[in-house]
């Protein structure tokens, strides 16, 4: 991108200025990506620096600590006992015992098989030929390994903490001849460190119910867990990046799904295309139409403003899925629209099944109906906040309505709407409700090139749903999930880092 001076910029014609802004925005995207990646080492450095700093304390403790401190590395809480911190010492010791028991009776057997995800299959008892003899359960191995790893990480933290505590005691003891008592500890937890007390349980639930399942689901993308390998009757195993290769390039051999890899990639790229097409269409049609309606309602000459706004709010008040199911019935072959057409003697149209392009058009129209009221409400709020004196001043200066709109109204609106556009855009990429409830993700017109479960109107998110719920293709579904995350993160970061509201936060009054 060529750098130009302000003078050069001002000497351009209006059209060229607009083009210049637009093209520099687009051309800056690769540069921004490049910058992000160039900064990556620094970010990693900072991150690992912090961790390293934490461990450096440990290193010091072990190096300069006395034998009591060093003993704490083996027997947690030893350093506490040695300095008469019985309560804290007991807690450390108790934790160590629980951890060892946990590992012996639970964790170890799963971690040991994490490498293969199990190798003993379930068989029938040869004597009766009826009862099953339990084998390895790949699902449990993967899930409980994640849990065990979380526990191990937590234990590592406790371990380091105990050694540092011991070292601190050693240092403190040599100065004050007294370490913090149990009473002091409790007092701390209720005062200076109350955040730890109150966040302990939520953090635990976060790890157990969110982080461990999330790790599990991410790792499924690297296995062949699908309808052919359902535990406990079958074992699944690691396949590396095969699933990603199949979905992105169609070149993988290892995929044990029910179809060849090239079909996965064809389906993925096609659905991704329609998803992006849909997200752009849905976001911008809503934005512009909403803006126009808001402007119309906000015009001084319009009567019954509150009435019109109430009308629009009614649409918002009805739950979206109710409206959508209703509309899908109305657009049905035997629905109200066709009924009217028929009674007028006109040919009926199968709105959502006739052809993909008609169905897509109808989806966008229905989305307008569902989404425009939201935009109108937001825009109305902004419009009412624009100070009148700006318009008055503009009028005195002889600005025409178009000028006023483009110089006052639009910049104001875009400044506020910018960030919300991102959420809308991302929301539309993942707009499950609209596509699934309205069309089920397909016109019903078959396309033999699509992978099983995929329809011609599917978004990535609805395809993902079908893959898991109907197709049991958990491996590919997990890949799709990760890819959706990447797409969404990409667009959010790019746009967010480049819009005015973020760059010029102070400008808004």
């Amino acid at each position: 991108m060529r750098q130009i001076s302000t003078l050069e910029y001002l000497s351009m014609s209006k059209a060229r200025r607009a083009w210049f802004k637009f093209s520099s925005f687009i051309l800056n995207i690769p540069r921004a990506i490049g910058r992000w990646f160039r900064n990556l080492p620094h970010k990693f450095g900072a991150f690992f620096g912090k961790i390293g700093g934490w461990f450096a304390g440990l290193f010091d403790a072990l190096r300069y600590g006395n034998w009591k401190t060093r003993m704490s590395a083996l027997i947690l809480g030893f350093g506490c006992f040695a300095y008469h911190q019985i309560g804290r010492g007991l807690l450390y010791l108790l934790y160590e015992i629980i951890f060892v028991l946990f590992m012996v009776f639970f964790g170890a057997k799963y971690i040991a098989k994490l490498g293969t995800l199990g190798d003993v299959a379930q068989v029938r008892d040869p004597d009766t030929d009826l009862v099953l003899i339990e084998g390895d359960n790949s699902f449990s191995i993967l899930l409980y390994s994640m849990l065990t790893i979380a526990v191990i990480v937590f234990t590592l933290i406790i371990w380091v903490k105990s050694i540092k505590d011991a070292y601190n005691n050693q240092l403190g003891y040599s100065i004050a001849q007294r370490a913090a008592s149990a009473k002091d500890d409790v007092g701390q937890l209720l005062n200076h460190k109350f955040h730890l007390t109150i966040l302990a349980f939520p953090s635990l639930t976060l790890v157990v119910f969110t982080i461990v399942p999330l790790m599990f689901m991410i790792l499924v993308a690297f296995t062949n867990y699908n309808r052919n390998t359902i535990p406990p009757a079958n074992l699944f195993t690691w396949v590396g990046f095969d699933n990603f290769a199949a979905v992105l390039t169609g070149q993988a051999k290892g995929l044990s799904g029910a179809q060849d890899a090239s079909r996965w990639s064809y389906t993925f790229w096609r659905i991704l295309g329609w998803t992006m097409e849909w997200a752009v269409l849905a976001t911008f049609t809503n934005l512009f139409l909403g803006m126009i309606v808001a402007l119309i309602i906000n015009k001084k000459s319009i009567k019954l403003k509150k009435f019109w706004r109430t009308c629009l709010v009614t649409v918002v008040a009805v739950p979206q899925f109710v409206s959508l199911l209703l509309v899908s019935k109305m657009l049905n072959n035997a629905g109200i629209f066709n009924s009217i057409l028929f009674s007028l003697g006109l040919p009926t149209v199968d709105w959502l099944h006739e052809s993909a392009s008609l169905a897509k058009f109808m989806i966008v129209v229905v989305n307008l109906w569902v989404g425009v009221p939201h935009t109108v409400l937001t825009c109305t709020g902004i419009l009412m906040n624009i100070p009148d004196d700006l318009y008055e001043a503009a009028k005195i200066d002889g600005a025409n309505p178009v000028k006023m709109f483009s110089k006052i109204t639009l910049p104001y609106m875009m400044f506020v709407l910018g960030p919300s556009l991102i959420t809308t855009f991302v929301g539309n990429i993942n707009n499950f409700n609209l596509i699934f409830l309205l069309t089920g993700g397909s016109t019903g017109i078959a396309d033999s090139r699509l992978a099983t479960q995929a329809g011609d109107l599917d978004l990535l998110i609805t395809w993902l749903y079908k893959l898991t719920v109907n197709g049991q293709q958990y491996d590919v579904a997990s890949v799709i999930g990760i890819l959706i995350f990447i797409v969404v993160a990409f667009f959010s970061l790019i746009v967010y880092s480049r819009i005015g509201s973020v760059k010029n936060e102070e400008d808004f009054q």
Binding site: T197, F201, R227, P232, A233, S448
Partner: protein, 571 residues
């Protein structure tokens, strides 16, 4: 002080919340043995489960029965996610046998259990519970999962397809015959008597009106020239009938664990071993399938018949047509046409009987015709509903090792009880379900049921022999033919014939009729076949811009793709 109390309270509350979540999770794990079956059989199953629980109190060990409705595919969908939390005993369509076995949700039926199964059920039904390893994995429940033709007698009486002597459709008829017969009514209106159930005015939980048991006869006047004949060519289960009719076939090979390792299909073309170039294949089967399927709804002049009703197997459109005959006040009747004939299974028997009253009848499937007038007998899958026992369910797995066998045996006893004669007859009376149980089959009402008679006649006609382990395989006679093209270069083509060769003595299955059961279809069978029917219909009626059936080359391409899709599946 107050502050400290508040803080401690905060901590206690958050601990309590956690405890609440944990105990709620624990409460979900109740001691219930689940039984899954069709929604509309719920009352019957609950009644018989209560009886069984009464007589086996001591062995149930504090467990009680719970019933949940599951559709045909519902059982597998649920089992594939959580086999331990799944039903102990459940019904499923026999095409799901292999899937369910792979998910670990089917116990082997052997020894005394298998003897019971063989002694009490029709042989073909027992055969349907078996997989490629030759072992039985379920108990036969219903031998009625096939399709045939229902028709309204008054729509065809007196036309060219009518057999005056027996007052029924002629034994051999085509779809085009039916359309011509309907058209021959002209503008004349026909009256027939429908037996209509009276609405109680209430609606059930799905918003459907509840009908009383009483019926009243009503005279219905219809314009049969506008009547429709429906067959779900957009559904792979029905569409397969065309392929089987023209000689299409498949062969699936299994490994020792019962997983499919190889699938061969002869739906598009046939190709002998050693010839890789599909262009040199014989496309007779595929072309015949395309032509026959086309001719089920396209008339001789190339126009689409106005009497054909397309569905993709979804019952909703069909239901609208059925209510045309029973529900005259329904506002949805604008532009509806009367239903003259429909290809369907026993699950619509009761409804159609009410809709058509005395003129209700059923018969075998029509004859198919290709463009040269060559005729083929339309064939169907012989499908069964079976009852499986889940050896991985919580009731068995959670028991101490010494008690597992007894608990598993209890589930087997329950399954046998639920497949018994008494409950089979009750099921038939409520829903028209055709039993597999021999004692129930001897019941006079069941033995004379029009729909079940038609189904059996259709099963009789069908002669697609099952593959592989069932006694047949294929061999090719290949002949290399050298000819010369217009430039005088040698062109090698292959002429070959496909022979079905007997294996293991060539014994056909079960009752000696020999028919295709659904259990052993290739892993990716349904979708390509479904696409075939859908695409053909949509293209010929101008609904898509795909060009799979535009000319000979693209048809060949499409048939190759179809076959490839099926064959590629087993890897």
């Amino acid at each position: 002080m107050k502050k400290t109390v508040t803080k401690i309270l905060c901590v206690v509350l958050s601990v309590l919340m956690m405890g609440g979540i944990v105990s709620a999770l624990a409460a979900c794990q109740g001691s219930v043995i689940l039984v899954w079956g069709p929604d509309d059989h719920e009352a019957i199953y609950k009644e018989y489960l209560a009886k069984f629980a009464e007589t086996h109190k001591d062995r149930l060990a504090g467990y009680k029965f719970g019933y949940a409705g599951s559709g045909d595919a519902g059982a597998y969908d649920a089992m594939s996610v959580d086999v331990k939390g799944g039903a102990g005993v459940y019904t499923f369509a026999n095409d799901q046998t292999a899937n369910l076995r792979n998910a670990g949700a089917l116990a082997v039926v052997n020894g005394a259990n298998l003897e019971w199964s063989i002694a009490n059920n029709s042989a073909a039904a027992v055969e349907s519970t078996k997989l490629s390893d030759g072992r039985s994995y379920a108990y036969p429940l219903q031998a009625d999962n096939g399709y045939y033709m229902y028709y309204n007698k008054s729509a065809f009486r007196g036309t060219d397809v009518w057999d005056e002597e027996n007052d029924c459709l002629k034994e051999e008829y085509t779809f085009r015959d039916l359309y011509a017969a309907l058209q021959s009514h002209g503008t004349e209106k026909t009256k027939y008597t429908s037996e209509v159930r009276i609405k109680t005015g209430e609606v059930d939980k799905n918003g459907k009106p509840i009908y009383s048991e009483e019926t009243e006869k009503r005279e219905v006047e219809v314009e049969w020239a506008k009547g429709v004949v429906s067959w779900p060519m957009g559904d792979s289960w029905y569409g397969s009938g065309v392929f089987f009719a023209v000689g299409g076939d498949y062969n699936v090979a299994y490994d020792a664990k019962g997983k499919q390792i190889n699938a061969d299909a002869w739906f598009g073309y046939t190709l002998p071993d050693g010839v890789d170039d599909w262009h040199k294949g014989d496309f007779t089967i595929g072309n015949n399938a395309v032509q026959c399927m086309k001719n089920t709804f396209v008339l001789a002049d190339g126009t689409v018949s106005t009497n054909y009703l397309y569905t993709d197997g979804n019952a909703a459109p069909l239901n609208d047509y059925i209510t045309y005959h029973t529900d005259f006040n329904d506002a949805m009747h604008w532009g509806k046409q009367p239903l003259a004939a429909v290809v369907c299974g026993t699950w619509k028997a009761k409804e159609l009987q009410l809709a058509w009253g005395d003129d209700y009848a059923a018969t075998v499937l029509p004859i198919l015709e290709n463009d040269q007038g060559q005729r083929f007998t339309m064939k169907n899958f012989a499908g069964y509903k079976n009852m499986g026992v889940n050896p991985n369910c919580a009731f068995v797995v959670d028991a101490p090792e010494s008690e597992r066998l007894d608990r598993l045996n209890l589930l087997h006893e329950l399954a046998q009880y639920l497949c018994g004669p008494e409950i089979s007859i009750a099921r038939y009376k409520a829903t028209g379900a055709g039993p597999a149980n021999l004692q129930a089959l001897a019941d006079p009402e069941i033995a004379n049921d029009a729909a079940l008679l038609a189904l059996n006649a259709q099963y009789d006609r069908v002669c697609v022999y099952p593959e592989g382990y069932h006694g047949y395989e294929y061999e090719f006679d290949v002949k290399e033919v050298t000819s010369q093209d217009e430039n005088g270069n040698d062109v090698i083509t292959y002429e070959f014939t496909r022979n079905r060769v007997e294996k293991n003595g060539g014994d056909p299955v079960g009752n000696g009729k020999g028919f295709r059961t659904q259990d052993s279809v290739p892993a990716n069978y349904w979708t390509p076949i479904q696409n075939f029917g859908n695409t053909l219909y949509n293209e010929l009626t101008g609904k898509t811009s795909l060009t799979n059936f535009a000319n000979n080359t693209s048809i060949m391409q499409y048939l190759k793709q179809l076959q490839g899709d099926i064959q590629n599946s087993a890897q």
